[in-house]
Symmetry: D3
Subunit: 250 residues, 6 copies
Amino acid sequence: MSRADNRAADELRPVRITRNWLDHAEGSVLVEFGRTRVLCAASLTEGVPRWLKGQGTGWATAEYAMLPRATNTRSPRESVKGKIGGRTHEISRLIGRSLRAVVDTKALGENTLQLDCDVLQADGGTRTAAITGAYVAMADALTTGRERGWIAKRAQPLRDSVAAVSVGIIDGTPVLDLPYEEDSRAETDMNVVMTGSGAFVEVQGTAEGAPFDRAELDTLLDLAAGGCRDLAQLQAAALAETADTAPAGR
Amino acid sequence: MSRADNRAADELRPVRITRNWLDHAEGSVLVEFGRTRVLCAASLTEGVPRWLKGQGTGWATAEYAMLPRATNTRSPRESVKGKIGGRTHEISRLIGRSLRAVVDTKALGENTLQLDCDVLQADGGTRTAAITGAYVAMADALTTGRERGWIAKRAQPLRDSVAAVSVGIIDGTPVLDLPYEEDSRAETDMNVVMTGSGAFVEVQGTAEGAPFDRAELDTLLDLAAGGCRDLAQLQAAALAETADTAPAGR
Amino acid sequence: MSRADNRAADELRPVRITRNWLDHAEGSVLVEFGRTRVLCAASLTEGVPRWLKGQGTGWATAEYAMLPRATNTRSPRESVKGKIGGRTHEISRLIGRSLRAVVDTKALGENTLQLDCDVLQADGGTRTAAITGAYVAMADALTTGRERGWIAKRAQPLRDSVAAVSVGIIDGTPVLDLPYEEDSRAETDMNVVMTGSGAFVEVQGTAEGAPFDRAELDTLLDLAAGGCRDLAQLQAAALAETADTAPAGR
Amino acid sequence: MSRADNRAADELRPVRITRNWLDHAEGSVLVEFGRTRVLCAASLTEGVPRWLKGQGTGWATAEYAMLPRATNTRSPRESVKGKIGGRTHEISRLIGRSLRAVVDTKALGENTLQLDCDVLQADGGTRTAAITGAYVAMADALTTGRERGWIAKRAQPLRDSVAAVSVGIIDGTPVLDLPYEEDSRAETDMNVVMTGSGAFVEVQGTAEGAPFDRAELDTLLDLAAGGCRDLAQLQAAALAETADTAPAGR
Amino acid sequence: MSRADNRAADELRPVRITRNWLDHAEGSVLVEFGRTRVLCAASLTEGVPRWLKGQGTGWATAEYAMLPRATNTRSPRESVKGKIGGRTHEISRLIGRSLRAVVDTKALGENTLQLDCDVLQADGGTRTAAITGAYVAMADALTTGRERGWIAKRAQPLRDSVAAVSVGIIDGTPVLDLPYEEDSRAETDMNVVMTGSGAFVEVQGTAEGAPFDRAELDTLLDLAAGGCRDLAQLQAAALAETADTAPAGR
Amino acid sequence: MSRADNRAADELRPVRITRNWLDHAEGSVLVEFGRTRVLCAASLTEGVPRWLKGQGTGWATAEYAMLPRATNTRSPRESVKGKIGGRTHEISRLIGRSLRAVVDTKALGENTLQLDCDVLQADGGTRTAAITGAYVAMADALTTGRERGWIAKRAQPLRDSVAAVSVGIIDGTPVLDLPYEEDSRAETDMNVVMTGSGAFVEVQGTAEGAPFDRAELDTLLDLAAGGCRDLAQLQAAALAETADTAPAGR
C-alpha cells in the first residue's frame, strides 16, 4: 500500500506546535497534524470544585468540540441541538484522563486546569492531536501558575509528558497517523496514548471491519510506540524554545 | 493478593444467563456476573432508518442505562436531569459496535435490531455483562425474526459470537472480571471484547493510577482472552437449551 | 363477559411480592400483578432537602419509569428524548402522594425516603402495582433505618398500609385489575388507592368512551375496595415473613 | 364553618364568561371563577396530525399554562427552565380528555382543535375554570369552522357540554368551588368533570390530610354534581347571546 | 400612502393603559396599542441575586413572552419546545435594558424588580407597548415598595420615565406605530426607546428591504421622538389618577 | 481622551483579512480587528429548506459563537449548558440580517449559504468583525458556487458589499472601533452596519450609562460611516488578490 502523501507506514504527518496562539489563556497551542488543526487553550484558575475543597489537591479536566465547518460537509452545532453527542463526550473524557495521568494533583495544589480543545479543521486524528497539543498548553499554563505564585516554586505538577497517535490497518498494512481518507477505509482503528517515558496511558482499539488477531494488535502497538516517541520529542523541542524565540501569538 | 470471594486471578465470577426473561421482546436475557445483573432486551423490527432504506442492509444499535438504585448510593435519573451523561453514551456506543462486529447486515436484510441493556444491579463489569448477555438476546431475536419470515430461512446474520470481560491490575497482580470493590482499587483497567473464534473486537485499556508497560498489557490480554473463551462457552450452552428446557420467563 | 384468563370479575390477577430483590437498596421489592412486573427500590438517606431542614420532619417522594421494552412495541427512552412525558410525571406524583398519605413525617425524623418504581414489564396496572409494591419496600427501608439508628426505636413512621388497584367497565361489566388487553377496551377506567383500614387516598376515574353515571361509579368503588382489601392482606403476609424465610434477593 | 366570602357551602363564586376576548382565535373566552381568570383560546385548523390522516376523524387537544405572576409570589417560567413541570402536564392532559369526551371526532371531520388555557390570575380552581371556559371557546370555534365550510353544515361535533368544579372538605365541612385560601387548608380535594346531561367524565379525589371514607366521598360527589349543573346553565346562557349582544372583544 | 385606520403618518394608535389589572402583583398594567394587548406585571421582592449582595444596589430585569394564540395563526409554546427562541431573548433583553436606563439602582436599595410582559394579543409593536406599559407597572410597584417600607421614604429610584415606539418606511412614506399589516410591508423598521425628557435609550433600525440613507434615518428619528413624547404624556396621565379613580383590576 | 493604543478617535484598529484559512469550506476568512479574531466559514450547499422549495430563491443564514477561552476568563460552553444564551441568539440574527441585506436571493437560485462565525479571541467588536469577515467569505463561496455550476454564470447574487463597526462615547468623546477595555467603559455603545455604497443596514445604539441626545447620535453615525467606508476598501482589496497571491490557508 502506498499512501496518498507518500509517507512511510511508520511516518507521522508534518506536525506543527505553535505556542501562545491566544493572548488571554494561561497556556495555548495551535497544534497541526497535517491538515488537522486543533486549538488547545489551557485555563488555570485558583481553587477547585466544591467536592475537592480542603484536600490540598488540584483538578484537571478537558472539553473537546468541533467547529461546524471543521469537516468536509457542515455539521450542526451541538449548542443549537441542545445536547452533546456521544462522540464528543467520549473524546472529552479521553483527553481528560490522558492529561490527568501525568499530573500530580498534590503538587498542583488547590488549582484547576481546564483544557479546551477545539477542532478548527478536521482531517483524522483530532483526538490524538488534541492530547498532544493540550499537554504543551498545560505545561505553559503551569509555568504561568508558578509565575503568579499559585503553584509552589519547587512543585513539579507534571510527572511526565503525554502524547497520542492513531494507528490502523488498511488493506492489511499497519500504518501510523491516519488522515480522514485512510481512517474511513481502515479495518482496525486504534488510538494509543503514551507517556514520554514510553508507558501506556490509554489503548483503544476497535475492529471497524473484521476483528483483529493478537499479531496485528502487537504490530499496531509497536507502530504507535514509535509515533508517540517522535511526538514526545517534538513536544520537548517546542517547550525548549524560550519565550523570545517562540512564535508570537499569530 | 487474595480475592474477597476467594476466586483465582483468572476465574470468572458465577455467570448466569437466563433467556426469555421478558414476554414481549423478540429476545431477552437476564445476565448476571456475580451480583451485577443486566436485563438485555433485543427488539427486532422490520424496516430500517430512513438513511439506510433501499440498500438491502439492516441495522443494529444499542442503548445502555442504569436504574437509579442499581448502585450502592442512589444516582439521579438521566431522564430527570434531561441529559445523558458521557459514561452512558460511551458504553452504549461500545455495546453497539461490539454487536455489529458479528452481525452480517446484508444477511439481516432490511430489519433493525435494537438492544436495550438496563443495569438492574451494578457490581462492576456492567458493560461486559451487557455485551455478553446482549449477544444471546440478539441470537434469540434473530431466531424469532426467522420464524416470523422477516429474515430469510438460509440467511446467517451472525458471523460469530461475541463476549466481553474486564481485566485489571490490583496491587501488581493482574486479575479477571473485577467486582466494584476491586475495580475501584485497580491501577489499570481494561475491557476486552472478543469473538467466539478468539479475535479482538475492542481493546480499551486505561491507566487509572500509574501508566502500564507492554509486559503488563500482554498479561492482561492473555487473561482477557481466557475469560472471553469461558464466556463464549457459557453463551453457547445457554443457546443450546431448547425452548422446552430453557428457564421460563421468571 | 368472560375474561381471557377466566378470572371472576372481582378477582385479582396472581400477585407476587418478592422482598429484597436488590442487594444495595434499604428496601426493595419485585412486585408482579400477572405479567406486570415492577421493581420498587426504597432508598432511605439521612437528611432532608434544604427547604425542610431544621423542622424535624422527613420527606418521601417517588419516581416512576418504564424500561423501553417493557411494552409490546419498544418505546424510546425519556433520557434520550431529553424530557419526561406527561404520563410519567403524572404517575410519579400519584405514587408519591399515595405513600405520603400513610407516612408520619414527624415520626420519620429528618430522613428522606426515595421510592424508585421501574416497570420491567407492562401488562396494565403498572401504577397500582407500583404503589402496592412500593409500600412494602418502604416498610423494609424503615426497618433498616431503625436498625441503623436513623429512626427512633419507638417511632412509628407508618400510620397505615396503602395499596392500589384498577377497576373498569368492559362491555357494560365492571371488572377488577385490568390487564392491558382489557384496559384498552374499557369504557371507563379507574384507579383507586386505599389504606389498609379501608379509607380512600386517591380516586381517579376517567371516561374513556361514554361518560359514566353515579350507579356505575358506585359499583366500581365497591369492586376496588374489595381488591385493595385483598392486596392489603398480601402485603401483610409478605411483611410477616422473617428475614430467614423471606426469598433471598433472587 | 363560615366562608371568607360568605358563600353557602354549595354556592359557586361569581362566574363570568366573556366570549370573543381575542380577535384572531376561532373561538376565545375569558373565564372568571371569582379572582381566578383564565384566557381560553380555541384554534381550529384544517387537517390532522400525520398519524390520523385519511381516517376521516378530527383531533382535539389542550395545553394549560400559568403566567409567572398569576400567583401570589412569582413562579419562574417553564420556557426559561427548559422543561414543563408535572403539574402542567397533568392539567393539560385532564383538559384534553375532558373536552374530547364531548367531541364527536367523526363529525368534526379532518380538522384539529387546539385549546390553549392560560391562567392570567390564579386563585384556586384554575383547571376547573379552564375546562368550563374552554368548552365555550370550542363551541364558538366550531361555529366558525362551520361558517368557513371546514365542518359539514349538518355535522354535530358536540355531543354534549362539559364543565368542571372543585369540591373539598375543610374542617369537616364539604364545600364547593374552593379559592386558594380554602384549597390550601382542605383535607380532601376533588375535581369533578361532568357533562351537561349530568354524567361523569372525570373524578379525581385526593386525600391531602387524612384519608376519606365512602360517606364523605358521596357527599362531595353530590356537591360537585350541583355545581356542574349550575355551570352548564351559565355556559348555555353565554352561548345563547347573539353575536350582536355578546360583549365585544374587550 | 393612506393608512388602513385613517391615521395620520405621525399619529399613534389608540393607547389604553389599565393599571392594577392583577390582584397579586406589586404593580400591573394591561397596555393596549390598538389591537396589541400586553399584560405587564411588576414583581418587587426584597433581596438581590447572590452576585449583587452586600453592594447596596438593586436589580431590575424583564422577561417577554407571547401566548400561543396571540398571533393570527397559532405558534407552538416555547415551554413545550424546551427552548426559548432568539426573538424572545432579544426582546426580553431590550425591555430589561430600557427599564434599567431610568432606574437608579442605588436608590432602589437591595430589592429586585422583575417585569413580566406577556403578549395576550399581537398586532405589531408588542415590544414597544411592553416597554411603555412596563414602566407604569414598575412605577406602581415602587410605590408599593415604599408603602411596605422596603424602599426608603425619600429614595427616588426612578430618574425619568421611559417609553418606546416603532417607526418605519412604507412605500417611501415614514409612519409611526405600525400595526402588523404595515410592519410586514415596511422597507425599514425601527424601534426607538426614549426617556420622558427626550433622550435616547435605544435606537434599533433595520433595513428589511433596501438599505436606508441618512435622510430617511433622520426623518424616522423625528417621528419616533414625537411618538415617545405623546406616550410619556399618556403614562403620566395614567399615573396621575389616584387609587380611587384608577380602574379597578378588571 | 487618549486611547491606550494611541489611535485617533476615528481610526480603526489594524484589520487583517486572511482568505481561505480553511481547506474544506466553500469560502473562509480569518478576520482580525486588533486582537479580536473571528473565523468565518461560508458553506454553500445546493437546495433550500423545505419551506422555500420550488420558489426559485435561495437562503442565507448565520450562526455566531465564541470559544470558551476567547475571553479573558473562561466562559462555559453553550453546548454543555444545553442552551444558547440571549446574546448569542441576538448576534447570530444580526449577522444573518446584515448579510441577507446584500444578497439577491433570486440570483442565488435554490442554494443555501450558511455562515459560521466563531470567535477564537475576543477583544471587543466581535459582531462587527464577524459581519465584515463573513461578507468576504460569502463572496468567495459564491465564486466557488459559480465554478461548480450551482449558480448561473451571469447571476449577480451580491448587490453590494457590507461591513460593520462599533462606535461609542467614552468620557464624552465619540470613538471608533472599541476594544473590550473601552467598550466596558463606554456610556453609549452603537453598532452600525453599512453597505459599500454607504447606506445603512442596521443601526443599534444603546445607552449603557446616561441616555444620549440627538447631537451625540449624529456624531456617532458620522464616525461609523467613516469606519465602514474604510472597511469596505479593505474588503475590496482582500477580494482583489488573485488566488495565486492570496495567502495560503494559514
